[in-house]
Symmetry: C2
Subunit: 195 residues, 2 copies
Amino acid sequence: MDTSKLGSSDRLLLAALNLISERGYNGVTTMEIAKAAGLSEKTLFRQFGSKQKLLEAAFDRYHYAEEMKKLFNEKLVWKLEADLLLVSRTYHEIMNRNRKIFQISLKDEGQLPGFRERTHKHPHQLLEILTNYFITMSDKGKMIAANPEMQAFSFMMMNYGAFQNDLDSHKNYPSISLEPFIQESIKIFARALRP
Amino acid sequence: MDTSKLGSSDRLLLAALNLISERGYNGVTTMEIAKAAGLSEKTLFRQFGSKQKLLEAAFDRYHYAEEMKKLFNEKLVWKLEADLLLVSRTYHEIMNRNRKIFQISLKDEGQLPGFRERTHKHPHQLLEILTNYFITMSDKGKMIAANPEMQAFSFMMMNYGAFQNDLDSHKNYPSISLEPFIQESIKIFARALRP
DNA sequence: CAAATGTCAGTCAGTACTGACAGTCAAACC
DNA sequence: GGTTTGACTGTCAGTACTGACTGACATTTG
């Protein structure tokens, strides 16, 4: 990423996010962060006061968090495969956008209060949406009627697992090997839930 | 856990495992580990030489690693639901037994060389076994024939996700909420893969 | 007695964070 | 146009503390 045109504040936030997500909060020094941002350590402290506050600022600034509910009510077409695809895609999009923040919350749970909750808010929302979707689909007779909570949970867990797996192996963005997984996983669920 | 009867060496290893899995390698001091073990810091260094070596020793001592392949060839009964249950159970048993080591490898990836690979060895093995199982089942006409790799991968990812989810929420052992998930997830796959 | 452990003082390197001072640069003012 | 001002940044030396690790000597325990 070319950060040279950003303000110094943003450069620091991004550098912090990159480094801390890789090596953990205690694994990175303020000196390193400043160097990575092409600035002096002094500037870091002048802008943020402390290392903690720097990380919190990074979190606030770069934690993407739009509302989803309305979005879904418009987009669902009440066809199982199409809608599952929408859910999968939305899930991975959210997770990938917050990928680094997510990694930090995994590694440094103890360090930041309430971090985990915020990071998991959207996935939880998605789970709710999917559960309700399954219930409605059953009512419409378009799906077998049995344990929608667990079915939704299973679907989400599958995607959660795949995302985490992705985090480890190829640390770069392109969810290239994710795509065939998404396709197949949807086929499986569609076949299992069809009435 | 009552560690009072163990040798001092084991007490240190367990204390290290407990603390580091919660707060990360850099988040725990040697002093804390020693205190938690009810011993002096000096003893820690006398026994292990360094903090790194302590962790490595803990890993070697408490990373359960029996072979699985033979085990499976004996236990599989070639009935989809029963065998999927066996795979699920084995998976969660392995993961839970290595739970703390696994958490450390998540948090402190960078710290330990080759940690991740060792931790993931058994899950990978399981994936292979399951893939081959699916292939054979297709050949026998007991399962639809289509993309066994991805189907196995999806199944494993689902369980991986559930395991990770478990790690976060209730930090204690009893995989109580895991059980209904396992049941339902197997139903789903059995229904999806039935010919 | 011998092996294991504790105590305590101390070394050494790192690390978050500060203060004093100086340079740059663009806008504002004369 | 030249000067001043103010916001921002850098340098450097330094403080205060932490944390891994050591050595000398005393104490416990089987």
